[in-house]
């Protein structure tokens, strides 16, 4: 299960990343293994999505969200 598969309002816990390059950027922004991530909103045209993570809101594209594996 990846982050991109969650519906609005659903949440999960980050397990690992499938893309090294992306993982470095995501981790700097506070997306770390063990963190709870919740989908808050989807942009009007279906992409990108907005998620809550470590106390703030982050937007990322679905393609990027699909590199985040959830527990």
């Amino acid at each position: 299960m990846t982050l991109s598969q969650l519906e609005i309002g659903e949440q999960g816990i980050i397990k690992e990343f499938t893309d090294l390059e992306m993982s470095v950027k995501l981790m700097e922004m506070g997306c770390l293994p063990g963190e709870v991530v919740k989908v808050d909103r989807v942009a009007p045209l279906g992409d990108p999505i907005a998620v809550s993570i470590s106390g703030y809101q982050l937007s990322l594209r679905r393609k990027e969200a699909s590199t985040i594996e959830l527990i």
Binding site: L20, E21, M22, S23, V24, K25, L26, M27, E28, M29, G30, L32, D40, R41, A43, P44, L45, G46, D47, P48, A50, S52, S54, G55, Y56, Q57, L58, S59, L60, R61, E64
Partner: protein, 704 residues
């Protein structure tokens, strides 16, 4: 005497860093450049309680020392190079208290560089409101740094920060955060020896960033390269290991210092607002409504101040002609410089308003929502959600907007954004539009509240944005690239705009406009006045003789003769001859030779158009009657046909020409600087000229 103590402000974006900078320096700030790069350097002077004046340098906002954009590379460059002219004695790290974990990442990195640091814990008021308790004393003890609590928006804590700076030791005393050497022990050791660096984290960062660092020589870069290969150093793996280690450290610190009581309230409000502002339908409706309101207000609110400025200049010109000794110098001063200046100064209210609105959109956090909503659409046409900021910023000025395209990491997205941004109508075109619209569009209200002139103006703006998107879409197919782009962006909570910042932005924009544009305009006005007042002497002599003949003196009054004469002289002046020489090529667009002169003079900067018109029609006009530029243009008649020059067709054709043509030397210079290839500004100039010519031709032929 020792130089002033230099303090650098560093922090994540959206932490209130610039509010703190403004609070510390007030209006004592200047914008310059970091040596060797084109990043804006904001610096200012602040006074401490003990009377010392210190220099404050505001470094670009960043989430980490690992740069993701061109702007961010400057942070490590300045902090790691002791010889850099901006290298600070003390670093103040501005952190958002409501988002401490992510903000402390940057702290741990900078702290490990071995510079004296202070933490400015901003937004403490919001942290309290969100039922989050931060034990500041314990935090300070654990890290062994000064931690200052601030609520900069409420101007709380600034004095405390100044006090902390006053008492800050100039030797770094903070505890080290993670064991850096463990990440790449041999490489760090060899690099430290090679470069004479005594800090392991500086060495490690250099191993990552050596290619971007301006202070390293070519030979050094090659040496580092081979060391990197020798130890098989993998940048991303090392960075991932480091980031995880840092967060482990941060988590340990936070366990003892922060307690959460319940969910953040502020964020809930932001979520509720976003429910509407980024709604499938309402999101776009509201966005367009906001733009609409902005353009309506620019027209409505600037009317009164503009009228005052106009009156003042007309009065000045009248006084000049009345009280200054008549002669060439007075003519030059009044008809050349003053007329040119007045044509431009009149637009200060509009430019100030436009910049104010854009800064409000950014300040409240709405601009990132627009980015969020538009990303999908922008991607389709070869742009990126982040392109929205340069494009909207393009409404103010293409130069800073093209520089702001640095936040786009993907090369192709960035090039396309740079190529189309100058198509978006900037504030320099605003005077041209408003002048021409007021000439041909009646000042009427539709349905009692919609200003018809406002609609015309907005349509031009929409057309310019539409054209930018269309061209981007075409370029998407023409430019090839294999790099993948990404879009990871913080959505800050909604905040009230900081009126203080808005005010400073307005002031700065007007100052830049007046000094930058003013210089060019005065120079061009003088040249133009000379060109318009003098011509080949044989021709001028003939005109003088012609009007001295009895045919004229009998039939016409002295005043009328004077007017005929000056208008014929203008036509035969150097400027007139120049305009006439290009007239055949611009006639299909509905332009006469006078507009031709304006096109030539405004090649360097569009701002010159209105000034040129003012100067040309002042030379031509009846000296005893003072009119504003607008009246002069409205009364202008074609010298051959006797028909009004500014018909609806000509006015719109001219507006379209100015909308699409690249008439800005500064933009071309900045495109060259940003792309480092002369090819791009040249392509841009050529395609925009063709586009402008063809579109103007179509518009004129359709309307006339």
């Amino acid at each position: 005497m020792k130089n002033k103590l230099r303090v650098a402000l560093v922090g994540n974006p959206n932490t209130g860093k610039s509010t703190i900078f403004n609070a510390l320096t007030g209006l004592n700030q200047k914008i310059g450049n970091f040596p060797g790069v084109t990043v804006d350097k904001k610096s200012g002077v602040s006074k401490l309680a003990d009377g010392r004046a210190i220099e404050i340098v505001d470094l670009p906002g960043t989430y980490s020392l690992y740069p993701k954009s061109a702007d961010e590379t400057i942070v490590f460059e300045v902090l790691s190079d002791k010889n850099n002219s901006s290298h600070p004695d003390v670093v103040v790290i501005v952190a958002d208290a409501t988002n401490l974990k992510r903000n402390l990442l940057l702290y741990t990195q900078i702290s490990d560089l071995g510079l004296p640091v202070i933490i400015a814990l901003n937004m403490m008021d919001l942290a309290l409101k969100s039922n989050m308790e931060i034990d500041v004393d314990t935090l300070a003890k654990l890290l062994n740094v000064q931690v200052v609590e601030l609520a900069a928006r409420k101007s709380q804590g600034i004095e405390g920060l100044k006090k902390a700076i006053e008492f800050q030791s100039l030797i770094p005393l903070q505890n080290s955060t993670i064991d850096v050497e463990v990440i790449a022990p041999d490489l760090i050791k060899d690099l430290s020896d090679l470069l004479g660096v005594d800090n392991p984290y500086v060495a490690l960062q250099i191993a990552h960033q050596y290619k971007n660092l301006k202070y390293l020589s070519k030979a050094r870069i090659n040496q580092i390269e081979s060391l990197k290969e020798k130890y098989d150093f993998h940048t991303q793996k090392s960075q991932a290991a480091e980031t995880i280690a840092r967060y482990n450290y941060i988590n340990e610190v936070l366990i003892d210092t922060v307690t959460y009581k319940s969910v953040a309230l502020e964020e809930n409000i932001s979520n509720k607002i976003d429910h509407y502002l980024t709604h499938k339908v309402w999101g776009f409706v509201i966005f367009i409504a906001i733009l609409f309101a902005i353009f309506q207000s620019i027209f409505a609110w600037s009317e009164y101040p503009m009228a005052i400025i106009e009156t003042v200049f007309v009065w000045l010109a009248e006084m000049g002609h009345q009280y200054l000794p008549s002669g060439i110098l007075t003519d030059l001063l009044v008809d050349g410089v003053l007329a040119g200046l007045s044509g431009v100064m009149v637009f200060i209210p509009q430019i100030a308003l436009l910049f104010a609105f854009i800064s409000i959109l950014e300040d409240t956090g709405y601009m990132s929502r627009v980015t969020f909503m538009m990303d999908r659409l922008m991607r389709k046409v070869g742009l990126n959600g982040r392109s929205v900021v340069p494009l909207i910023g393009g409404l103010a000025c293409a130069v800073p907007s093209i520089m702001s395209a640095r936040t786009i990491e993907n090369w192709k997205d960035r090039i396309i954004t740079i190529m189309v941004t100058p198509l978006v109508s900037c504030s320099a075109r605003l005077p041209i539009y408003t002048l021409l619209i007021s000439l041909v569009v009646p000042k009427k209200m539709l349905l009692g509240f919609i200003n018809l002139q406002g609609i015309a103006l907005m349509s031009i703006y929409f057309l310019s944005v539409f054209m930018a998107i269309l061209v981007a879409w075409v370029m998407k197919g023409l430019i090839r690239s294999k790099l993948k782009g990404y879009f990871i962006m913080e959505l800050p909570v909604y905040r009230m705009p900081r009126w203080n910042n808005v005010g400073i932005t307005m002031l700065e924009s007007v100052k830049t406009f007046v000094t930058q544009a003013g210089k060019v305009i005065i120079a061009v006005s003088i040249i133009l006045w000379v060109l318009a007042s003098y011509g080949p002497s044989n021709k001028f002599d003939k005109i003088d003789q012609k009007y001295q003949s009895t045919d004229f003196t009998k039939n016409y009054s002295a005043d009328q003769i004077k007017r005929f004469k000056s208008s014929e002289k203008l036509e035969n002046s150097y400027a007139g001859l120049l305009g006439k020489s290009i007239e055949p090529s611009i006639k299909p667009l509905g332009f006469d030779w006078k507009i031709g002169i304006a096109l030539i003079t405004s090649f360097a900067a569009r701002e010159v158009f209105v000034g040129t018109m003012a100067t040309l029609y002042s030379v031509d006009g009846d000296a005893s009657k003072m009119e504003s530029v607008k009246e002069k243009m409205a009364n202008a008649k074609n010298t051959e046909t006797g028909l009004t020059v500014f018909t609806t067709a000509t006015a719109f054709s001219l507006m379209i020409f100015y909308a699409f043509a690249m008439q800005c030397m500064s933009t071309m210079a900045v495109v060259y600087r940003e792309t480092k290839n002369i090819k791009w500004p040249l392509i841009q100039f050529a395609y925009m000229l063709v586009l402008a010519y063809v579109s103007s031709f179509v518009v004129y032929q359709l309307l006339s």
